[in-house]
Symmetry: C2
Subunit: 703 residues, 2 copies
């Protein structure tokens, strides 16, 4: 059965069986049953509790066996030592969807992990889909379903937003405060320890689910990052996927490990991967839900020019700061727009963007001005700010704006600071699904998220390139040869690296390899000076560490004497036996040094890195990551987002370089690591730019 179908009964069950419901109030076994009943679940409810006759009006069964009906969803609440047996009984009853609320498994250590493995194993064998253990349950506020199978007392208003939380407690915090925040969602799932069902399953399920229009997830770790990436690359074209990924910092990662048992991936890879596959990464719960709501409320935001309409200067300035900080820009209003505004606004109003209408602006003025702004082709979205003044009725203003928000084809964001009584009236008589924000800072963040999403949709990910057959065969042979050497050391020698790069037809700087003095003398006549002498060794790939590089050699004589000195030094250090060959290269001072690297992450697989190389690496930390393989246009994006980019566009005495040439190198290196699973790491550093040409000067490959 495909994933989407196998999860269906979690959110759309015909009936529910509670195994281990309790008759004692304030216990989880009691509160879940109460939630299900109180929220008005549309299906039948069964309860197993051998000690009670009935709980909350529901007749209790002594065992699962006893029940005659076919059960679509079981929820297990029994103590952890009884969970396995309950699962077995569910299996006998042909139940295929089970939620285990009970905690005390992987999250508490080895013994718990063992128990969890047994359960997972059993479920797999019997085609049971499992949510949990150590989770909080499931909600579906859809009118047709009305399911609150959690112990949360508060439930959100329905909207076609679906919400996954890896942490039950975080979800509890969201639900506890939902009256205050006004967040909405239809489906919610707490996946706990992810013994079976994980974020990838849900991504697939919600992709197909007709009732889901926006997907939101709070995650602490990725079960299979590469799978998530591949899936999300497709899902995000159809539906926005908004991710709050915690454990961003080192300490956060340690905290997450002890919490979920899963070791989190380095955050910079997560960041790169989410961006590349078109997900929207948010920083807070508030940003997640308000962005999700904005996707429901607004059509596409195609460009990033924002108009601000206000009755208050200060908040508009704070808003403007945030607009610029979030890569949006203030619209240049057309003269026509200003003239139209002039006709309806106070003579002392400021007609430049931000448009400050002064405190006297009333509901009608707000709405008309919003319309005028939205008709300006330089305006892509409007942020309206309203601070309630003495003489104006806030309810009327916000109601007009909310109506305009619904009808206007462009996004109309409402930020407002009304007096307290407003909200009570609004809850009763206002427009319920309007997006109204109580903070200035968040509105540009949301619009920026919208903008990035639609930008990304226009340029969604395409990678069809592969290595050509000839290159692949050559490289395959080189690697085979390395492996047959069967050393402990898994590095390629400089010569082998050089061959791999040449097989890829990359712009490697010319090298001559040789072993003894005799060969050197033969080779030397072909060499241009100044040159560089290096060791080529499987063991010592960091050549500088053993002073294995001699720069700027001016003549044949100097070269030979340098070689002899180097050799005798290596002999003294007793490592001459570890040197496979020596290498001679042309020497030059480069204008710019770059790094092109690639490595393999446990969760996300092959990753490519581009940035400033040489000594700049340490001080500017110019890491620009993407999951391999990358297309040429993705490689171009990497280059353009790097800090070293300004040096490539023509800078003082450095001429502009054709960056598509660099992009080609990045693309090929990304294909190399992607297609050859045995390669662990590739490090081209420095890649030098000299006279508008790329020259790969030093390289390391490990398998």
């Amino acid at each position: 059965m495909i994933t989407a179908d196998s999860l269906h009964n979690f959110f759309y069950p015909q009936n529910i069986l509670l195994v281990g419901a309790s008759s004692k109030p304030k216990t989880i076994g009691y509160e879940i049953l109460k939630s299900i009943i109180q929220f008005g679940f549309k299906g039948k409810i069964f309860v197993v509790n051998p000690k009670s006759e009935e709980i909350l009006g529901v007749k209790c069964n002594k065992s699962i066996e006893e029940i005659n009906d076919e059960i679509s969803l079981a929820i297990i609440l029994v103590p952890k030592n009884l969970v396995y047996d309950s699962l077995k009984e569910c299996s006998l009853k042909q139940i295929k969807n089970v939620i285990i609320i009970t905690a005390g498994f992987r999250e508490i250590g080895e013994a718990g992990a063992k128990l969890e493995n047994q359960i997972t194993e059993f479920a797999k064998q019997h085609n049971i889909r499992l949510v949990g253990p150590n989770c909080m349950g499931i909600i579906n506020t859809d009118e047709q379903v009305k399911l609150n199978a959690t112990f949360a007392a508060e439930v959100p208003h329905y909207s076609p937003i679906s919400f996954l939380s890896q942490s039950g407690a975080l979800a509890a915090a969201v639900l506890n405060t939902i009256k205050e925040t006004g967040y909405t969602f239809g489906q919610f799932i707490s996946i706990g320890n992810k013994a079976d069902v994980n974020e990838n399953d849900l991504l697939e399920f919600w992709w197909k689910d007709q009732k889901t229009r926006v997907i939101t997830m709070y995650l602490e770790s990725f079960d299979d990052g590469r799978k998530f990436f591949d899936l999300a690359s497709n899902v995000s074209i159809d539906k926005p996927v908004i991710i709050l990924k915690a454990a961003r910092t080192q300490s956060g990662t340690r905290a997450a490990s002890s919490h979920t048992g899963a070791l989190a991936t380095k955050d910079d890879i997560v960041d790169a991967a989410l961006k590349q596959c078109g997900c929207i990464r948010v920083k807070t719960i508030e940003e997640m839900f308000e962005t999700a709501k904005a996707f429901l409320r607004f059509g596409p935001l195609k460009s990033n020019r924002i108009a601000v309409l206000t009755n208050a200067g200060g908040p508009a300035i704070l808003c403007t700061d945030e607009i610029e900080k979030n890569n949006l820009t203030l619209s240049q209003l057309k003269e026509e727009t200003k003239n139209k505004l002039k006709e309806i606004l106070h003579p002392e109003a400021s007609l430049n963007n931000p448009v400050d209408m002064l405190p006297s602006a009333d509901a009608k003025t707000y709405r008309e001005a919003t319309r005028i702004l939205s008709q300006d082709e330089n305006v892509d979205a409007i942020i309206t700010i309203f601070v309630e003044p003495v003489m104006i009725n806030s309810f009327e203003v916000i109601k007009e704006l909310a109506e305009e928000q619904k009808s206007n084809p462009k996004p109309v964001v409402i930020v407002t600071f009304p007096l307290p009584h407003f909200w009570e009236k609004w809850k009763q008589e206002g427009i319920n699904d309007a997006l109204i924000l109580k903070s200035i800072e968040i509105s540009p963040v949301i619009l920026s998220n919208l903008y990035r999403y639609y930008q990304r949709k226009l340029n969604s990910r395409k990678t069809e390139e592969t290595l050509n057959e000839k290159s692949r065969t050559k490289i395959s042979n080189i690697l085979k040869n390395v492996k047959t050497q069967n050393t402990d050391n898994s590095f390629l020698t400089s010569k082998e690296c050089n061959s791999v790069l040449k097989a890829l037809e990359l712009p490697v700087v010319k090298s001559k390899f040789f072993i003894g003095k005799e060969e050197l003398i033969k080779t030397a006549s072909e060499i241009k000076f100044p040159c560089v002498l290096k060791i080529s060794s499987r063991k010592f790939t960091h050549k500088s560490d053993i002073e294995g590089v001699i720069l700027n050699i001016q003549s044949k004589k100097e070269l030979i004497s340098s070689f002899e000195k180097l050799k005798s030094k290596l002999k003294k250090m007793n490592i001459l036996k570890d040197i496979d060959e020596f290498e001679i290269q042309e020497y030059f001072e480069s204008e710019v040094e770059l790094i092109i690297g690639a490595y393999r992450d446990n969760s996300f697989g092959a990753v490519i890195n581009f940035g400033a190389g040489g000594k700049l690496v340490e001080i500017i930390q110019d890491k620009n990551l993407a999951l391999a393989p990358v297309s040429k246009s993705e490689a171009m994006e990497l280059i353009k987002s790097s800090k070293v980019y300004p040096l490539l566009t023509g800078f003082r005495n450095i001429k502009k370089i054709d960056i598509t040439k660099i992009a080609e190198v990045i693309e090929k290196v990304s294909l190399l690591i992607f297609e050859f699973n045995e390669i662990k790491e590739i490090d081209l550093n420095p890649v030098m730019i000299k006279d508008q040409k790329i020259k790969i000067v030093d390289y390391r490959i490990s398998i």
Copy 2:
């Protein structure tokens, strides 16, 4: 009269006179009177309105003249064309403190500015202190005063926090929502157009004011940045000064200019200045008021090791992320602490920091665990997180924690997500001045603000250094000489710059200056090769632009031919007449290139800059600013906070350099620009590091 005394009556008036109070509800003239009465002002209220007999029970006077009492504070509400006359009448009545609420002055353009200048001029002549115009008024919630002279309907609970807002509307937004946010403050002032009273006056007033313990300000511009800086350097030692400075971005600055008419200073200078003078710069209103509250609630935070205590994993991970992001660190708990925790916590609780007590933790456990953590000497502050679970009473937990917050000598921050009914009960029975946060992200930000403040207090600003008399005289003579030359151009020649730097005893690379070939030949024998040949010109200070620099000259012969080629080229370009001298310097390739610069900001005065120089300037934007003069230790801080710093501490083949030597150069350059007002800009770039020595290679000074 000193500032502090002259402002006293604004916040502590014996009585109030309203000029232009209105009998029409929902007008400002009516609402202010209503606010004053309703809030229960302790003094007498006088009203001038020629058309009404009485308003809201207060008898109206026909004119100011008519009143017999001595008036301590007048509030002018009349239309803008009548403001000047009202002020005159106030003056006749010997009123020395006047608030002008009326708008329509500088903020609407030239005509308004003219009117405002007349008023300001009059007030100055008659020793009247003026708040406004275009402002919102004043609040003092002190029990002894009970003043709400604004048109805001909502007023905060009292606390010894004072709040200034340059924007009335922003203050209105704060006041409108104060029931929801729970922010507290005692004194509030809206300073509007700052015709007279500005942020500097208030800084001085609140510094002396016994009732003010924390100062908060929302600013859009600085009237006199240097004065603010000097004042705040002292005030911040006694009281925390928290600044929300809007108009951080270019667009924000433009928005602010059209709003207040004041041209804002570049944000990086503001940032540097606020940091240097010990102010805490915050990013949002929420951060400002919660930080202020934290200063009232908590004692000094001497170090930055934080323990997190939670009943919920997810929120603790988000919190941990923020801890690291805000330059705090997670405490390493002592074994003893863990053992003590083990005794009282659930057996499956996680004893590592964050301490996850699991949902079963009750009020008693929370409090005891907090105490245990606070006794650990590795813990400087504790963030407690409480997500209300089914079985626990949130009121009891938060009450216990709030009591612990009061009694514990270390900061105990409370972050909580209770069910909705909690807040109602808390408002009635809770501990009112407890610091309780509803967001995870803000708590580390607040602690980080506290920590930075107390750190800064330990190292508060000392600068007693001045240039020595000998240097000063020499430089003074050089500059005098430049000025007597009386050219349009205000740059020093290379030779003059060189003399200035030598007078300061700075490590300038050796230069020889000469004019003709004859002199060159004489000089050449003293020169080490390779060398550099440069022009020295008052007109062409960007030498490279006219190819006026020839690098890496290997011999005397090459030098002479280079000189002749250069000279003939300059002749052809018809600019030989603009060359004052030629200069020869030693040539070498440096290991690191730095920039040390200084310039003069309109508002903040002399500013110094340190960072990576040469071509790095553009790509790493390593700007590290401070107001001049800087002490040696401030200079050290600048160096340490720079991006180029890692290259100075020993990096690959670059040896570690003694950065106190660089600090000395920075200090002296800062004294140079500070003491010589005529200097506009100093640019030492590149300052090269070679073999652990500093060599200033190129320099420009303009006056």
